[in-house]
């Protein structure tokens, strides 16, 4: 069985402890999980419904008419969660950056345009590094596996920043034949 990112995310939240939709929304919001996947409040129940239909979660019938449905994980759900988590950790899935397309079409730009664009990316990466660090400060305390996740993003951004500065240095110092 292959779960979508949103399905795996919600399955994991329900596995921590039985929760109703509002509590799931609260966890998504306070833990900033929308940083990782797109899932709107309205689609929480839709995704839970799919998980329920697949027998991975169980919806407890509300006690009163106004009580909210509580979702808990089933034994089958737990098995799927384990298998999918292992797969997500161990299998590399390439994500293609728009940077690749930008570099491929580099010659379409003038030297100044290309350098300015790459310089712009440097600012945008630097801003993103600062934003993540800020998030991290505001979201204390975080368990160590989440700190490690932030380390992952931070080190990827740092690698890209160093690639950009190296590339800018090279492209700037390279003699550029001008057409008169």
């Amino acid at each position: 069985m292959n779960l979508t990112d949103a399905e795996l995310l919600l399955l994991g939240l329900v596995a921590e402890m039985p929760r109703h939709g509002y509590e799931i929304e609260h966890a998504l919001e306070t833990r900033g999980m929308r940083e990782w996947t797109q899932i709107g409040f309205s689609s929480i129940y839709f995704v839970l419904g799919k998980l329920e239909k697949a027998g991975l979660v169980l919806a407890a019938a509300p006690a009163g008419t106004k009580a909210r449905k509580t979702f808990s994980i089933t034994a089958a759900g737990n098995r799927v969660l384990l298998a999918q988590t292992v797969a997500a950790l161990q299998t590399y899935r390439p994500t293609y950056s728009t940077l690749l397309l930008g570099m491929i079409h580099w010659p379409a730009l003038s030297r100044d345009e290309a350098l300015a664009a790459l310089d712009g990316r440097l600012s945008s990466i630097t801003a993103e590094i600062a934003r993540l660090e800020n998030l991290r400060r505001q979201r204390q305390p975080m368990p160590d596996h989440i700190e490690a996740l932030f380390d992952f993003s931070a080190s990827q951004l740092a690698a890209e920043r160093s690639w950009i500065t190296n590339t800018l240095d090279y492209m700037r110092s390279k003699p550029w034949p001008t057409q008169e």
């Binding site: 921590e16 402890m17 966890a27 306070t30 400060r137 204390q140 305390p141 368990p143 160590d144 700190e147």
Partner: protein
């Protein structure tokens, strides 16, 4: 540098396990050495909301120290758990469960190289995130001889265990409480179901005079 004579838990893994991974289901004795802490003082009714604010602030205040510790210590850095100590000036209030008169403090162990000055700098760096003036202080103390147990499960079961500790185990061992009751939370309660939460219950003790 912080004071000498302090236990460096990153070098003494055996002590780290003794202090933070005791056996479940049975009381055991432990001698808690001198350790440095970031301490957040609180008083009055220990409500979940006031305590969770204290815990959040405490972790926020020491974030720069933890970040530095991770960089500096690598894999020997261990993410420390939050600990809560409860007591009353008149311990009969504590025994009677009059929670309005309780005092409490939240604390987290610091690396031995982080002294009072480092904690001050760390909190100053986080001033924006912390907001109000913080009842935060650095303290090093040795809890000494303690009885402790790891409890896995609902906190509703804790009073029964404590009843057994204070009414049976301690008197039978010729011991009496000598310091604040202490709980160490090994899980983040927003991520772990009540049935699976791990909690260390610890009580400093001394020999009961005859």
């Amino acid at each position: 540098m912080a004071d000498a004579g302090m236990m460096d838990l990153t070098h003494d893994r055996e002590m780290l396990r003794t202090l933070y991974a005791p056996a479940t289901g049975a009381f055991s004795m432990v001698d808690v050495p001198l350790l440095p802490f970031a301490v957040w003082d609180g008083e009055g009714l220990p409500e979940l909301s006031s305590i969770s604010t204290a815990i959040r602030n405490l972790y926020t205040a020491i974030y720069p120290i933890r970040r530095h510790a991770r960089e500096r210590m690598g894999k020997s850095f261990v993410e420390p758990p939050v600990e809560l100590l409860y007591w009353a000036d008149d311990m009969r209030e504590w025994a009677a469960g009059h929670r309005n008169n309780w005092r409490w403090r939240a604390q987290i162990t610091l690396p031995v190289w982080a002294d009072a000055r480092d904690l001050e700098d760390s909190a100053a760096e986080m001033r924006q995130e912390l907001g109000l003036a913080a009842p935060l202080r650095w303290d090093a103390f040795a809890e000494g001889k303690c009885v402790q147990m790891l409890h896995i499960g609902h906190t509703d079961d804790v009073p029964v265990i404590l009843e057994r500790l204070y009414r049976e185990y301690l008197p039978q061992a010729g011991l009496e409480p000598s310091g604040p009751y202490h709980e160490i939370y090994l899980d983040d309660w927003s991520r772990v179901s009540p049935a699976k939460r791990k909690l260390i219950l610890r009580q400093p003790v001394r020999t009961r005079p005859n």
